[in-house]
Subunit: 373 residues, 2 copies
Amino acid sequence: MFKFTIEKKDSFTNARLGRFVTPHGEVETPAFMAVGTVATVKAMTPRDLQEAGCRIILGNTYHLYLRPGVEVIEKLGGLHRFMGWNGPILTDSGGFQVFSLGALRKITEEGVEFQSHLDGSSHKLTPEKVVDIQERLGSDIAMVLDECIPHPAERDYVRPSTLRTIRWAERSLRARQKSDMAIFGIVQGGMYEDLRLECARELTALPFDGFAAGGLGVGEEEAALRAIGRYTAGLLPEDRPRYLMGIGRPEDLVAAVAAGYDLFDCVLPTRNARNGSLFTSAGKMNIRRAEYASDPRPADEACDCYGCRNFSRAYLRHLHLSGEILAAQLMTLHNLAFYQRRMARLRAAIREDKLQEIQIKAEDPESSIQKPE
Amino acid sequence: MFKFTIEKKDSFTNARLGRFVTPHGEVETPAFMAVGTVATVKAMTPRDLQEAGCRIILGNTYHLYLRPGVEVIEKLGGLHRFMGWNGPILTDSGGFQVFSLGALRKITEEGVEFQSHLDGSSHKLTPEKVVDIQERLGSDIAMVLDECIPHPAERDYVRPSTLRTIRWAERSLRARQKSDMAIFGIVQGGMYEDLRLECARELTALPFDGFAAGGLGVGEEEAALRAIGRYTAGLLPEDRPRYLMGIGRPEDLVAAVAAGYDLFDCVLPTRNARNGSLFTSAGKMNIRRAEYASDPRPADEACDCYGCRNFSRAYLRHLHLSGEILAAQLMTLHNLAFYQRRMARLRAAIREDKLQEIQIKAEDPESSIQKPE
């Protein structure tokens, strides 16, 4: 059974240090999940993920439903066994992906009809079906089907959408068969505080195991992301984990942890790595830059990942410019290790009541969130 | 200093069990080298290579000369340090690549002028320059610049080309500055036995550390490859390693070892892996086939590589069809492990005078070279 405990609250911010227990082990929070959309975190073996410090990863219901299909994964013993990952897995519902399809989908009260981005075939997902799929995948934490509202959106669109997301959430809970799979509700409401409040009030009355803030990081201004993110966190119960979906940059994570969030996911560390962009203790590094052509230093002199222990910036640049797969392997491993180390430092800071110091440095325009590393 | 010793000769074939010593360690022969063209064996970290059983790898002078350039690698401490590989490295001269350029190159007595396949820039490589580059890369075993003669080729083309390759070989030896870098001569001569003989007689009179058979596997018939390969092996001195360049398939390796070759390289295990083709103890396997869609078995039930220990055919197929980098990682690791295990079995067979049994099975049309595994 899913269980969340708070070990310590920060004295100066809303941050919490905690842990949750799943059928596949414990996770210390605040935690960052690497994104493993189609049953692989791109360019990473499961042992690479362990080495980078990943303890929980994210899979995607929509993608796995389309390919290889739920039946295949079920027959192979579930998602964990299929992908060789024995730690906890949270599966996103597919709401975000389906709603990214634009003209290819149609939303009704019953659910969402859409055409596959792979072959154009027609499909329908309902809240019940999405829960069923996640149970069959063997997810540790399932997300309800929601509508991830695009930005900008008129209030006249946002309110009915949000109310439907609430009704879908109720249906999702009723559909659950497996008590050992946690289900998180997702608070929508666009950039409207009163709609966020309305949504949170309804959802938090339901026995969800945790709550997420969705529909953020969808193109809104930085200030709106911060404000709505912080506001929504304050609407969620203390005793259950709070998950800020799809966020974010290292500096976003500090702010979000201070706001009281416990769980995060983002494609940035993995996608940036494949594009030659590294997170380092001295700031972001574009490995393509000519200045690194014969630079013998590791990407990050403060990092002890396999890549930084063994290879130079010059070598990484050479691999990246040559289009070599090894570039993606080494740089993804580094970026994930950087993110996990960052999370470990935030946890340590909460324990020592020092998160505010990190936060102040992160918000100082003269400084950089990267600097305090 | 390079040193080659033969530990045992097979009683029924021309196979030999031996070892050579380089500045970066010993290699048991017969040995297969994974191809690491641009300072990376594609999709493999150095620790992956170690795990697969690779003890010596091949780099490519032509590619490294063009990108990242010799100066960069030299400044970074040489090729071994640059790519994080501490074992022996043999560098191909670039002859094969330059001669693949077709209209983009011009051969003179002095050397070869060519245009870069990357940016069209003009370059000239001479035998002396190619030795110099390999010394600066820090290669353990350098190959002389030669002309890899295309097939088919008229005798009127092959003889003058081969004589020039001989003159280039002499110049290469004279150009050597570093006594700890071994240099191998390359026997050309096309499909003409008398020209192979002439070339081998001239080259083996020179103090090369080893000899290669080049210009094979260039499109000739299977029978010609076998016959010329075997004939050329017989022209090379017993006391120095014999390297059959660019070969080959598992069944080719058995025949070549029986003919007396000690060293091999080929892109097959790595390239095939990226194309979804696996070498297994039950034969070749195309992982894209529908029959593997929900097959829970490892790719090769007789294999103990990381991929086969942890993942199903269904998962590999899913990764490959999804275009995931991890497909290339896991399948390359498997194919290299398969090749290295194959070489270890051939070495064990020589030790026990059983190579002929393997060879007979390999040549039996009712059997498959894969079967005896």
